[in-house]
Amino acid sequence: MRALAILRDAEIRMRKLWLTASPLRALSETLLLAGLVIGLSLLAAPHTPTTAIVQVDPALILLSGPVCATWCALRLRPAHRVWWREALVEGSVGIILGILPFTIVVVSVYIFVVDRGYQLQLPTVRVFGVFPLAWFAALLFGAFSLEFVVARMGVRVALLWNHMRRTQLRWSLTHAQLLAAALASLTIFIPISLFTLSFRDLSVYRLVPAAFVFVVLTSLGLLIMLPSSAVVSMFLARYMNRRLETLTNATAALRAGDYSVRVPVTGEDEVAQLQHDFNTMAGELERAMRDLQAERDTVATLLRSRRELVAGVSHDLRTPVATLRGYLESARARWESGAEQLPDMLRRDLSVMERETLALQSLIDDLFTLSRAEVDRLEMHPEATDAVSLARGLVASMAPLAWQRSRIEVVADIGPGIPPVMVDPHRLEQALRNLAQNALRHTPPGGIIAISVSADAGRVLVGVKDTGEGIRPDELPHIWDRFYRGASAIEKGSGGTGLGLALVKELTEAMGGTVTVRSVPGQGSCFTLSLKAAQAAVRQPHTLAG
């Protein structure tokens, strides 16, 4: 267990090692490495003081180039910047990588050769006994800079490939097969290389270039092998992938509510099993869904017919009971006034009948309340409504009668820039009509009723104001109660039932608005509905228990 933990830690550390260093850090590390390799090789190289020729195998130094450049390429973290800034940073790193090792060599030459007292002119120095200094610089530059660029491009390709195989199954499968092909190729090439090498008598200095050659050869072999196997893998993966894609699409359709979707079953493997199970599952879902819907329809039909029955019965019972009650009342009124003489027996019977009629009426009222609770849900269908044309229409329809009957002028008072409101237009009209009727009842002849519309910070205010008698302050809190009628209304018998304002409040609040009232006794009242302006408001049917 402990060993496993250590392994896991090591793996995490390894992962942290690659592609995480800042450019400066990557460069310093690489230069340290290069300095170490070059310095050591220079130090270890035999040199004759007379010719001032440093005799090191050039291959050793040149090989250190790829190693260092690869290290740098693997350490440098990719920054997710704009592509040209990225290219600039990496290009600069490459150039610095090419220049600095050269400086190290020159400095080393000075330290190890010049400082020992030999008269020496720099341009004549031949590094490794062969290369003029300039050539050597070019070689180093190529070994470090170009190798870095190539390695970096390799890193990019690897990252891209990794991203592709993470997000798409097709590439993941191709990757797995390519990996297998690469391993197979390596197991063939490496023994052959080793076998070939073992026939030569090789010194350590020769072994390194030879290994280099073989590495290059192996890579070339892989480059030829891999594309062909990649093509084959692609085709295999595509077949596999297509089956999964069909399943994915079918699942998405199922989630979106299409329960009739099925997939063709292909083959006999696990995917085929999955396809089969999917079909079974979809079938069961479809059946369950259909059953539920049928059930719901049945229940809805039952409920509707029951509601209709209750509403119908409570309706049909009303007229006969009203008739019965009317006759009984009228009969009693006549005997009480002494217009008719009735035997005691009959009088008592009539009393019983009247009492029972009242009991019957209260039963009907209960039945009616029940049916109303179920039937009379105020359906709200909010939509973007033009309050201005609604107000104008209302004024047009009410003004003639109001003028004719009580010489009251009904006018519209429309402000500028009214946005549409999110309401049920019929319900809003109903509320406004109630308010206007109410105003008509309480305004003396010659008065004015104005239906005003104005906009106010995301809301639209629709008001009904009158020049009527106003509402007493002590009555204001009660006006919204059902069946409440103002003292003056009762006194003057100005009609009205005390339901209108309660209904207005219910309707307005069901539409997400508020209703307020201001009133000055003797000068008039102003009822204001504050409604939401329609601005991408959610359209949902609301229901309100009546």
Binding site: H315, E329, R372, S406, R407, L499, G522
Partner: protein, 240 residues
């Protein structure tokens, strides 16, 4: 006594309602369906209609709609609706114009008679107000330093007599009679010239303008109501 048109298809109910209304002193005409109700209404002078919602041939709501569209004063006849279904009530009060009151069946006869009486009284109040506005009155009205004598057709401000045209006098008289009450331009137009107002006519405004000028410091007592009407500021305040 007032004539009431009763429209109810249930004969027994119609009979008992008619009996009650008659014993309350009203003259009752009865109709059994919507069409004959309209027919009766166009022939006879009725002051009020008791209208059932559910009627054969033409339902109550449709009858009401057609009545309101009739020419002449009959269109403004007060209507008491009878309904058997509660949810219809909301429609009567709200959406459908024109029903002045309603009752849900079954109802008490006493309540029906009371409501009929209340509706008729309300009509009477309106008629009386209109008549009072139109008829000349003899009482001298004073409002702070302002005094109006209808008999002498004279207005004095702080004791000094004002020279007013007949129209100006009529309007000032009307305003002075009910301080605080608002009068629309159309109403004043009708009161001053016995003419139907034509939209956009500024004659009333001009008269009020002249009146304000002549009243001098008292001129601001005539307030404008929402730009379309005028009223006399209700509280006395000569100092203001």
């Amino acid at each position: 006594m007032a004539t009431i048109l009763l429209v109810e298809d249930a004969l027994e109910l119609a009979e008992v309602i008619a009996r009650e209304l008659e014993s309350a002193g009203y003259h009752v005409l009865a109709a059994g369906d919507g069409l004959s109700a309209l027919d009766l209404l166009s022939k006879e002078a009725c002051e009020l209609m008791v209208l059932d919602w559910m009627l054969p041939r033409l339902d109550g709501l449709e009858v009401l709609r057609q009545v309101r569209r009739m020419p002449g004063p009959i269109a403004s006849i007060p209507v008491l609706m009878l309904t058997a279904r509660g949810e219809e009530m909301d429609r009567v009060v709200g959406l459908e114009v024109g029903a002045d009151d309603y009752l849900t069946k079954p109802f008490s006869m006493r309540e029906l008679v009371a409501r009929v009486r209340a509706l008729l009284r309300r009509e009477e109040v309106i008629r009386q107000t209109l008549r009072a506005d139109a008829a000349p009155q003899g009482t001298v009205l004073d409002y702070g330093v302002l005094e109006l004598n209808p008999e002498a057709h004279q207005v004095t401000l702080d004791g000094a007599s004002l020279d007013l045209s007949p129209t100006e006098f009529t309007l000032l008289h009307l305003l002075l009679r009910s301080p605080g009450r608002a009068f629309s331009r159309a109403y004043l137009m009708e009161a001053a010239w016995q003419e139907v107002s034509i939209g956009g006519d500024r004659s009333v405004d001009n008269v009020i303008l002249r009146l304000r000028k002549k009243l001098g410091t008292m001129g601001n007592l005539i307030e404008t109501v929402w730009g379309i009407g005028y009223r006399l500021r209700p509280e006395h305040g000569g100092a203001e």
